[in-house]
């Protein structure tokens, strides 16, 4: 299934699925039953007679996935299934993918959303510059980044102190996540007192401070060698895509 929904806008949801069934050689007697089953599973049954042109992006994406499943494949290739969708639609699709996987379908998912891969995948291959640089379960990948600690902090007043934070001792990298800063440090116990001292000097109040377990994203950064800044930019782009949907 491609990144862009490629169902026929001029046809109804029902006709789209029946056409997919015809192309894949699903026996005539099973087409209707299978289409109804998928439309119900994907929450589109009530709109089955409506033209797809009137559907939202999320609904079209669901229908595209449904069309890919019409012939009961044992393996499905999904390319960025949630790109450009709103949060609600993305969550619905992720839940559906989980359900599909539980029903025995192997899903080969390509995604730029690291959290999505973390939530959905049992095995993850990280591709950097066209080559697989790591292939393991999410937890095992995270373990590879464990020597690096992450301290997440937010300040009041909210100021752009990213560059000053970068210059602090023990800090190897900083990324901004919303109103918070993520500091990549070797030892959190040394970094936190230094951070408190930094706040005092700059008249900042700490609103929240957390030490985070390395995320899959941290593992990704470590494995690929991409800087947290580049990751942050990519993430912002991804979020923009999601909220625009």
């Amino acid at each position: 299934m491609p990144e862009v929904s490629n169902v026929y806008d001029e046809m109804s949801a029902w006709d789209n699925l029946v056409f997919a069934a015809e192309l894949y050689g699903v026996p005539r007697s099973e087409r209707g039953e299978r289409a109804a089953e998928l439309l119900k599973l994907f929450g589109l049954y009530e709109r089955r007679e409506d033209k797809v042109g009137n559907f939202s992006k999320g609904m079209k994406r669901r229908l595209t996935i449904a069309a890919a499943l019409i012939h009961k494949p044992r393996i499905v290739f999904l390319d960025e299934p949630t790109t450009g969708l709103d949060v609600q639609s993305s969550r619905v699709i992720r839940a559906l993918l989980k359900k599909l996987n539980e029903s025995g379908v192997t899903i080969f998912l390509t995604t730029h959303y690291i959290e999505e891969a973390d939530q959905l995948c049992q095995r993850i291959a990280i591709i950097n510059q066209g080559k697989i640089v790591a292939l393991d379960s999410p937890e095992k990948l995270k373990a590879k980044a464990e020597e690096q600690h992450v301290v997440e902090v937010s300040f009041s007043p909210s100021k752009d102190v990213e560059h000053q934070l970068k210059d602090l001792k023990y800090v190897s990298g900083v990324s901004r996540v919303g109103d918070k800063f993520r500091l990549y440090v070797e030892d959190a116990s040394e970094a936190i007192p230094m951070l408190i001292d930094f706040c005092r000097r700059n008249n900042l109040k700490i609103v929240s401070i957390n030490t985070l377990k390395p995320s899959l994203e941290d593992a990704f950064v470590k494995i690929t060698g991409l800087s947290p800044e580049v990751m942050a930019i990519e993430k912002e782009h991804a979020k923009k895509g999601e909220s625009l949907g």
């Binding site: 006709d15 056409f19 050689g25």
Partner: protein, 247 residues
């Protein structure tokens, strides 16, 4: 082997049915397919005093040519642009079957267009059709051939305007060189030779014979055979072009 062929044929029919639903049978498609050749023909028939069987065969062939090539340009190129063509490419269907399905939809469209022209035209011009079955067969093969031509063009083109431009590049010279407005015998000999390489020539000829003769002549049968051959070659060429374009 035979089973695979039948399955491919059935899938081509499904593609044709889908195309008919999605792209064809909308008012603008009919108007362009009809208006352009009708206007051309009226202009020439007024100037040239063309006889009625020439009018009926020439105009019907032109309508099929313009109608089917125009719609094929939209049906294939638009699908490539919107991404829905991927749906067909990823399905277990060969390139040839996809393009044959597209041409099949064009064939039905051509039949409808030709009927829309032929019936009023025979009534108005008081032309007696000697063998309607032969006319039907000639129209069917003409429609398939011109649809296949449209399919080949749109397999190559990236945008609808490019496909339309290429279609016009072929359609207009064909319209003048294929004995549509003027019997082939009256054309200079060199042009007469060129005309034999153009599918429209065989379409016009087959239609003219079927209007005048109640039994199929050898020329008629050869015309139909050549149209079938043109269809096959154009579709095979279309499949190759598409494959190259997608690489």
């Amino acid at each position: 082997m035979a089973r695979t062929w039948i399955q491919s044929l059935i899938k081509a029919f499904y593609i044709a049915k889908k195309d008919a639903k999605v792209y064809y049978f909308k008012a603008p498609n009919f108007t362009y397919g009809l208006l352009m050749p009708v206007s051309l023909f009226i202009a020439f028939s007024i100037a040239g005093q063309i006889n009625s069987s020439l009018i009926v065969s020439g105009l019907t062939s032109l309508v099929i040519l313009f109608g089917t090539t125009s719609i094929e340009a939209v049906a294939v190129v638009l699908e490539k642009q919107t991404g829905t063509f991927e749906r067909l490419l990823t399905a277990p269907v060969s390139f040839f079957t996809i393009l044959f399905g597209k041409a099949l939809a064009g064939l039905f469209f051509g039949l409808v267009l030709a009927t829309a022209v032929l019936v009023p035209l025979t009534v108005i011009s008081r032309t007696f059709i000697a063998n309607p079955l032969l006319v039907f067969i000639a129209i069917t093969f003409s429609s398939l051939t011109f649809s296949a031509l449209g399919v080949l063009i749109s397999a190559y083109a990236k945008w609808v305007p490019e496909a339309q431009m290429l279609s016009n590049f072929l359609r207009f010279p064909m319209a003048f060189l294929s004995g549509t407005f003027l019997p082939l015998e009256l054309l200079p000999s060199q042009l007469g030779i060129i005309a034999r390489f153009l599918p429209l020539t065989y379409s016009v000829e087959a239609l003219r014979i079927s209007i005048n003769d109640s039994a199929p002549t050898i020329t008629y049968l050869v015309d139909i055979l050549i149209l079938a051959l043109f269809s096959f070659i154009l579709l095979v060429a279309g499949s190759k072009v598409l494959q190259r374009r997608l690489e």
